[in-house]
Amino acid sequence: MKSFFYLANFAIRGLMRRKIKNISIFVLFGLIVFLFSGIDMMMNALHVQALKALEVQPDIIVQNLKAGRQLPIPMKDAEKVKKIIGVSKVVPRVWGNYFDRYTNANYTVVGVSCDNIHRESARGILSLTRLTHWPLKKREVLIGEGVLKARYLAVGGRLQLERADGSPINFTVAGSFRSEVSLWTHDTIVMTDKDARDLFGMDKAMAWDLAVFVPNPVEVAKVGEKIANVLPGARLIAKQQLVRTYGTSYGFRSGLMITVSLACLLAFLILAYDRAAGLSREEQMEIAILKAIGWETRDVIQMTMLQSLALSLVGFLVGFLLAYVNVFVLGAPVLRIALTGWSVLYPPHPIPPVLDISKVFGLMFLTVIPYISVGIVPVWRSCTIDPEVVFRR
């Protein structure tokens, strides 16, 4: 064991003899790990938050389609769906996207039937918002932080929106969402059901879609089949479909960026191999001296591997930690735009962090092991040269 520590000490001293070269390799290695781990952390965190939000979504969403385009669904269809065994609740939803021409932003306007919300949920709502009372009254809105900032509003202020015919409706800002839910509510405006219908010009007998709740997850597929029989032509979106779609979507985006970054990793490994293969006169002399004083080839290779491990391990940890700070403390400003897409109203807060130890080791395996491996063959080839030949050069 003691001899191993002496060998490690000698290996690290060897690194210090060529500071500039080793520092440049350390910086490059750290940069590549920074890129890879930043992408992976960001995607993983976004995926986890999306799945979290999907947990509270209805089990099936029913939409009315005509010629492949979505139209409002009659409320009487909700009664038909309610009668299906297995369905615990059907909520006709009135919601939509509102384009604000003053800020060029899209808001998500949600109409809520306050009577349908239980006391427990009402308490929960009050804890997530800065509301002083619930339910909302007529012409009162609850808005996300993004809307507050975009329209320079404060609680108690006036928000003016326009109907489809251009006529204005004035609302009073009763409260705003807290920042811990801003990822989902940053661009949201919540109002009463009646106000939402007034804003969108939606008839009382219609809704935008139906939220169907099925308590037993095993029954979701069968209930969906029955809904399709009762409402042929309707589009059914199951929560599981969305879970898979998000998995695909996030996987596609991160995979695309990692594939591009893979080219950087390959270039770095080629550089590392080239560095190991093209040993300088000084390095060749060093190996020759070690061989001459009795070191075996495997000792020299062991020393080289220790040098690579020492350099790459520190580079990996520094790169990984910097990526963590960049993504979860600073909010990854550049990476976020590339991975999440463009949006006028996007929450500025960093995403809640998600770290998985298996990913840390996986990334370590992907970067550190190849770097250690590329140096073995060139060093072995140098060791096979007779030391006397090197001395005589």
Binding site: A53, N97, V112, S121, A238, L317, P352
Partner: protein, 108 residues
């Protein structure tokens, strides 16, 4: 043995910082699910701002300027990946057109 000691100290600090990162992630894990349930009625879409116009790799319930439906016949997808995936399966419900091959009429 000076160098190995310095290296071990640096490595120790870095591993401590890594542990700190795990602790930070555990503390700041975000809103717990049971509290988020209260906002269920306000969240018509679970989409945390993902924006892409590809058909089947975005939230199916979102209406958006870059919607999954073409604006004119023969319009190509904005994002090629939209054509790389077929609509996801929904057990019990037909989401794809399936054509049955006609019965073979000829000598076997």
């Amino acid at each position: 043995m000076k160098y190995i000691r310095i290296y071990a100290a640096v490595l120790g600090i870095l591993f401590l910082l890594l542990g700190g990162a795990f602790l930070h992630a555990w503390v700041k894990e975000g809103i717990p699910l049971n509290r988020l349930r209260a906002a269920r009625s306000f969240l018509p879409s679970g989409d945390p701002g993902m924006n892409t116009s590809a058909r089947y790799i975005r939230h199916l319930a979102l209406s958006y300027p870059g919607s999954p439906f073409p604006d004119f016949p023969g319009q190509s997808d904005y994002l090629p990946a939209g054509m790389a995936w077929a609509p996801p399966h929904f057990p019990g419900v037909r989401t794809r057109i399936e054509l049955e091959a006609p019965a073979f009429e000829g000598n076997p």
